[in-house]
Symmetry: C2
Subunit: 255 residues, 2 copies
């Protein structure tokens, strides 16, 4: 789970709950698959199963958009695809810039899921002169000096940050100053942005750590009565080499 945004007090934008908005893309994907198979209508039960959610939740979600279903029949697939696309703003073209063309940035540039959903990679930007001019996914990498001009010329309002954490905040500020108002941040850093700018964070290592927590719990349940008390006061803080191993040294893309 890429973790959520920054501030914004859980405002429900235009009456549509944030939780619902987060699920709309899921429904859209399931509906698109049905559409490809030329399925004309679908019930909330079927669609919910395909999207992996509860059918009541799905119906309530759709009810925020309007009454698009027909009782006794279900939902018209094509119509719903259109309505959700429109609601999400996918009927228009969103130029996007990716800043930081390392492994991850390149992977994103190559990611087919962007182009297919109203998003267009308008430019790839990197601070390394070595990268400048190279083609990644058929798109030339431009130097970060050009950042402001690129944003402005292309009317970019969405930026993706895949830089090392050390420069993420700085890049963020330049993006915002240049007119970007939505940021998808892959750098393991807390970005601070002015009001009105949305930030969503995707953090790979956090996801793994959450899995590890549950994994440990599972293992612990089996070995039930093992580690009993708290980590003895005596051996508190065992890891003496603490300072050193902080080998958490941000290599390529620390997290």
């Amino acid at each position: 789970m890429a973790t959520g945004r920054t501030h914004r007090p859980a405002t429900r934008s235009r009456g549509i709950p944030e939780a619902t908005v987060a699920r709309l893309p899921l429904y859209l994907r399931a509906l698109t698959a049905l559409s490809e198979r030329s399925v004309p209508t679908v019930s909330s039960e079927e669609l919910a199963a395909a999207a992996g959610v509860n059918s009541a939740k799905l119906r309530k979600d759709f009810s925020y958009l309007g009454s698009y279903g027909t009782r006794g029949v279900g939902y018209d697939v094509e119509y719903l695809v259109y309505q959700i696309s429109r609601e999400l703003g996918l009927t228009q073209d969103w130029p996007v810039v990716i800043v930081g063309i390392g492994n991850l940035g390149a992977a994103l540039a190559n990611y087919g899921g962007f182009a297919s959903r109203g998003f267009r990679v308008a430019a790839l930007i990197d601070a390394d002169p070595e990268m400048t001019g190279r083609q990644v996914a058929g798109i030339p990498v431009q130097h970060s000096d050009e950042l402001e001009k690129i944003i402005s010329d292309n009317g970019v309002s969405i930026g993706v940050i895949t830089t090392p954490p050390g420069v993420a905040q700085q890049v963020c500020e330049r993006l915002v100053a240049a007119g970007v108002t939505s940021i998808l941040n892959f750098a393991p850093t807390v970005l601070s942005v002015p009001d009105g700018v949305d930030v969503r964070k995707v953090d790979l290592s956090i996801e793994l750590q959450i899995l590890a927590f549950h994994e440990q719990r599972k293992a612990g349940e089996e070995a039930a009565a093992q580690e009993s008390a708290v980590p003895a006061p005596a051996a508190r803080r065992v890891n003496t080499t603490d300072q050193g191993p902080d080998g958490d040294v941000p290599a390529v893309m620390p997290a």
Copy 2:
């Protein structure tokens, strides 16, 4: 926000709320940074600012772990690092396999954040014979025929899926059958797994779609209210090709 797991009725594992678990890695990162700077103690206020959360929330989160603070002083950085690491299960070594060595899989293999936090890439697996034997991030890619053996030999319990969506479910089933009980899924597919298996999903295009929703909303508000507050280029992003329903033709990597 990479969206969450599959089922599990929001069970709070061992009394620690899921929402808290999701924030622990965040605190850990901030604490690690403090530790590197040899800061001995930190107050909830300072740490909360560094992690980008509310201080009351942070204190409540920590209270689930135990009373590790000292009133009037704050929290001992090293001690807290240890406690959170232990709670998350990061004091042990977690071998991980990555299945599907495309752009994204390669990016993850190169991702420094894994090795630094108790995770070890035990193997890279791909179905393409062309890939077999190649080195990615210094690790040889093995053929998917070996999947079961690799999982078993290395005692892998966490798998990362970065395959095309079409084969994700199948890969998932093989992983689970071989003993994997936690999966991090990057493929835009709803995975169904038996009880006891955790799935977390990271979906790049969903994140962008959520941003697009808010972006559209912002644009709509400006247009409607005609607020001169935000310097919004008048006719940015026109795209009149907003044709009727159906225009949304899914392409290569439906997401």
